[in-house]
């Protein structure tokens, strides 16, 4: 996983840092207010519970605050989304390591599909839970590329620019992520169907 809060190689001048700090202090509240909902949605969608999402939300903003003091930020939205995705995946992975839980149906949330019946809703909740587990099992960059592509709907070029990789590399990582997710999700679904 890429460490996002590292100090850059070219240290900015003192005056530049001071000016950036002054600008940042003035804008920080506005930045939090403007991009907070998107970051919250990202964290909550990937983590699935409010406590983790809140922690991840705070971590994301603190990390971005520190980053913005070290270097010029072109787009706070994309940086926040990327950091939030990365942090959420880290948290998913940690959660998976800490407790190798199995689906027990208690973590069900509401699925926004009014036509679905209770059994379908339960099935979808389980699928979501398994997807989160599977994302925790993926490599850092693969999971990140997958989330940015399917949940943030970024293009290959945008993903490549955000992660500092080539467009073709982004495509390869996405393909690998899909293959791994399929490999993880499919046997679980088959065994479940056979149990039923």
């Amino acid at each position: 996983m890429t460490i996002l809060c590292g100090r850059p190689a070219g240290k900015p001048g003192r005056a530049a840092v001071l000016l950036r700090e002054i600008g940042l202090q003035a804008n920080w509240r506005a930045i939090v207010k403007e991009h907070g909902p998107a970051v919250w949605q990202n964290c909550y969608r990937l983590l699935g519970n409010e406590a983790d999402a809140a922690d991840c939300f705070q971590e994301t903003f603190m990390c971005v605050l520190e980053l913005s003091r070290c270097q010029e930020v072109r787009s706070f939205r994309s940086l926040l989304v990327r950091v939030a995705t990365s942090r959420s995946i880290n948290r998913l992975r940690r959660r998976m390591r800490e407790s190798a839980r199995t689906w027990n149906g208690r973590e069900a949330a509401v699925v926004a599909s009014p036509d679905a019946g209770p059994s379908e809703q339960a099935e979808q909740q389980e699928l979501i839970w398994r997807l989160r587990q599977a994302l925790g099992k993926l490599g850092g960059q693969e999971a990140e590329v997958f989330c940015l592509r399917f949940f943030e709907e970024l293009s290959y070029r945008e993903i490549a620019r955000e992660l500092g990789i080539t467009t073709s590399m982004a495509g390869v990582l996405l393909h690998r992520a899909r293959a791994k997710l399929r490999a993880i999700l499919e046997p679980a679904a088959v065994s479940e169907r056979s149990e039923v």
Binding site: R29, V32, P37, A112
Partner: protein, 224 residues
């Protein structure tokens, strides 16, 4: 394969469609905002501390270096040197190192002084030449004027002389003309007198001749 694809897409769709509570909660937003301010204050204090530590380190290093330098200097301090030895030791080195430098500097200074003196002399000479030239020009102007005056006077004199001479010549010519006229008049009078005399003589001769012819030829002829 299509099933496998479907399950990933299905899972993604399900995750996308999962209802996310609207948020973030206000208290979380406030916490993040205030944490930003706190973090800024903490970072400022840490920066101050770091600066103090850095300055302290530099000061300590400087003190250590000075102490070490003093100790080393004190330890390796030589005894008081003999002036003669020092002179003998330094003389050849100073001679070899300083002599060419002094010579060069002397040559440069001399050339500079020469250049300055030459420049000053040049300026003086130029001024003198200028004054002299002006004097010569003034004197030659006066002399030329004098000579020109003299020349004009001589020309005037020569012109008046010529004019007088011409006047005298004209008077002489007039006198000659008057004399010639008088002479011509007297000559003409003489000629007229002579001519009258000759004419009278000729008439006398003719009369004599006629009379003789009459005498020679008779009365008839004389009547004819």
């Amino acid at each position: 394969m299509s099933k496998q694809k479907d399950i990933v897409d299905k899972a993604v769709d399900a995750l996308r469609n999962e209802e996310v509570p609207s948020g973030p909660p206000e208290e979380l937003l406030a916490a993040v905002t205030s944490q930003g301010a706190q973090w800024e204050r903490a970072a400022a204090s840490v920066r101050g501390r770091l600066r103090l530590i850095r300055v302290g380190r530099f000061a300590a290093a400087a003190v250590l270096l000075i102490a070490a330098g003093y100790g080393v200097g004190h330890f390796f301090r030589p005894g008081p040197p003999s002036v003669k030895q020092l002179q003998e030791a330094l003389e050849p080195a100073l001679l070899s190192s300083l002599e060419p430098v002094i010579r060069d500097r002397l040559a440069i200074e001399l050339s500079e002084q020469w250049a300055l003196a030459l420049a000053a002399n040049n300026a003086e000479l130029r001024e003198e030449m200028k004054g002299m030239g002006l004097g010569v020009l003034a004197a030659s102007g006066t002399l030329t004027n004098q000579r020109l005056g003299e020349l004009i006077e001589a020309v005037n004199r020569a012109q008046s002389y010529d004019r007088r001479w011409v006047t005298a010549a004209l008077e002489q010519i007039e006198l000659n003309r008057v004399a010639d006229t008088k002479q011509l008049a007297s000559g003409l009078q003489t000629l007229a007198l002579h001519t009258e005399d000759q004419l009278e003589q000729t008439m006398q001769v003719v009369a004599d001749f006629c009379a003789r012819r009459q005498t020679d030829n008779g009365f008839g002829d004389v009547e004819q």
